[in-house]
Assembly symmetry: C2
Homo-oligomer: 331 residues x 2
């Protein structure tokens, strides 16, 4: 185990081994999705897997939630590029042969999500696995006419913004894991945020149209996902904890659970909100464009030179490193 | 377990649930790959997963074999449509954090295969699983100018042909599972066929150019894969066992192992040869086109009306049902 690798190191080794810029590859590994230039069309391509016991538990998620969420998590990568979904492939591995009801519920969740995003499932693969259920969803999409919004475009001085409120999905998971029907009935919106995330496609397209300089979806936790932007852009960042948007329901649950709601908001993943960077003079314009699509935007910090590191100023004024917040599959 | 479903029934339920012909979908579930019409480009899309303990064992496959084979199995679906590969996405789940050597070997095998097919890996996903290693490979491709060759185009009276020799991969697996170094040194080509399959891209394109009426790659075993053609085309078929091409090396191993080589040739999957149908008057022309690419073609039977069923005439003259030969993940 002394020689085993972290997720970050695994990705670094893979990126180092992949050939540099083969023909047709407009954007390779290192972003939410890749972009391939076919002869007369640029296509965004992304794939994401979810495994029972790692990403979900059958105790807290129904089969239709699992299908929905697997699809949503891949579609969200298209949102994070500012693109429009085109079609999806769904690969399912079953730990044991499913019964018809489970299969129909799983597919109903995936189909409902894909239909709502105009991203039809057009093919896939079925097989057996020695462990539990897993789903791998590949989604293709079309970039915004202004081009895809990459992780690598942030510049020192840009404002960092996020959509919606953060930590709701982590709060929902807390409620589900508590097993309390009372909590579940009172915090239904948080549970919904965890079980039925909605990729922010219209918001992502609006941000692409408004020329956001960089964008990422918040799937691993704000700290970790912002670190992706800083690493790819060669910058640092400065976040203010008190500006991170936390909803009233999450605040109430946190008080009841005696948890700092910022722990959920900064470290919890799976919100599938968007974090983005824009030039300071257009932040207000961007916020208006998002509001017109029913999405709130909060200004939570600023991009700095790389030398400044990635710093978070806590409510108490103390500074911590942003990178430590979030989820590594192998830590 | 009384209510659990077969692979065939799972696929039937999923196909029944998927919306019929959403916009842009030129070809949906039911073939080797799907085809999506982007605004100005048709793209072939396919995904395939391999799981440790189901599709491969670390005892018989090196990490680089596993990477190679996962990539080859998806690229082969592009060959089976007569297409040309464009790019690939690779999703890997690790049962335990890999060490650097294993990771590099796995990637080296996948990259070597993808580079040889001009199908660069442009993105993917890394995660943890609760069981062993699994790889899901999505490959995109461009159809032949004459259009993709589907499973559904066979017509009664067409000749059924196959490329190469069948059963070599199954023989290779037998050698590996025997653990015998002696067998392994004497039957190296069979082992190579199992560990390092080579998708027949040039042959698939030649068959598309020669207007083959239907095509499939042999991944689940000849019987099962031909049944796909018959089901999608609404036909039956008539195969002659003595015409199924078996190589000398496989014949020698079978004699030594006291196995009927036809068992491997008809039921063993993973040969990634192509089975195709053509009008009788062009079979010779097709065989010549394949020979020019170094691929031999054998005529093994004929497409019949559906009422005739799917029949195999054995060497002893007895007739059996073709459908029973091959691999169901859940049987």
């Amino acid at each position: 185990l002394g020689d085993s690798l972290t997720e970050e190191r695994i990705i670094a080794i893979i990126r180092e081994m992949l050939p540099v810029a083969p023909p047709g590859v407009a954007l390779g590994a290192g972003d939410d999705a890749a972009v391939f230039d076919f002869a007369s069309e640029s296509v965004i391509l992304t794939t994401d897997a979810v495994f029972e016991g790692i990403h979900f538990s059958r105790r807290t998620c129904s089969m239709s939630d699992i299908g929905w969420k697997a699809m949503a998590s891949s579609v969200s990568d298209i949102a994070a590029m500012g693109g429009e979904p085109a079609c999806a492939l769904l690969s399912i591995a079953f730990g044991e042969p499913p019964d018809e009801r489970d299969l129909r519920n799983l597919m109903a969740g995936a189909i409902e999500m894909s239909a709502g995003c105009h991203c039809p499932i057009i093919g896939g693969d079925i097989c057996a696995s020695t462990s539990g259920l897993s789903l791998t969803v590949t989604v293709t999409g079309i970039p915004h006419p202004g081009g895809p919004v990459l992780r690598s475009g942030a510049v020192a001085g840009d404002i960092i913004g996020v959509t919606g409120t953060l930590g709701d999905a982590a709060g929902g998971l807390y409620v589900l894991e508590s097993g309390s029907d009372d909590l579940r009935s009172r915090y239904g919106d948080l549970v919904e945020a965890h079980l039925r995330p909605r990729p922010l496609l219209a918001a992502g397209q609006a941000l692409a149209g408004a020329r956001a300089s960089a964008m990422v979806d918040i799937s691993d936790g704000l700290g970790r996902d912002l670190a992706h932007i800083c690493e790819e852009s060669g910058t640092g960042c400065e976040l203010r904890a008190r500006d991170v948007p936390v909803g009233d329901e999450l605040r109430a649950l946190a008080a009841e659970a005696k948890v700092d709601p910022l722990r959920w908001a900064l470290g919890g993943g799976e919100d599938y909100q968007l974090a983005f960077t824009v030039q300071p003079d257009i932040f207000e314009e961007v916020a208006v464009a998002l509001a017109e699509r029913g999405v709130q935007a909060a200004r939570i910090g600023m991009i700095t030179p790389a030398s400044g590191g990635m710093r978070l100023t806590g409510a108490d004024g103390r500074q911590t490193d942003v990178k430590g917040l979030g989820y590594d599959h192998f830590l």
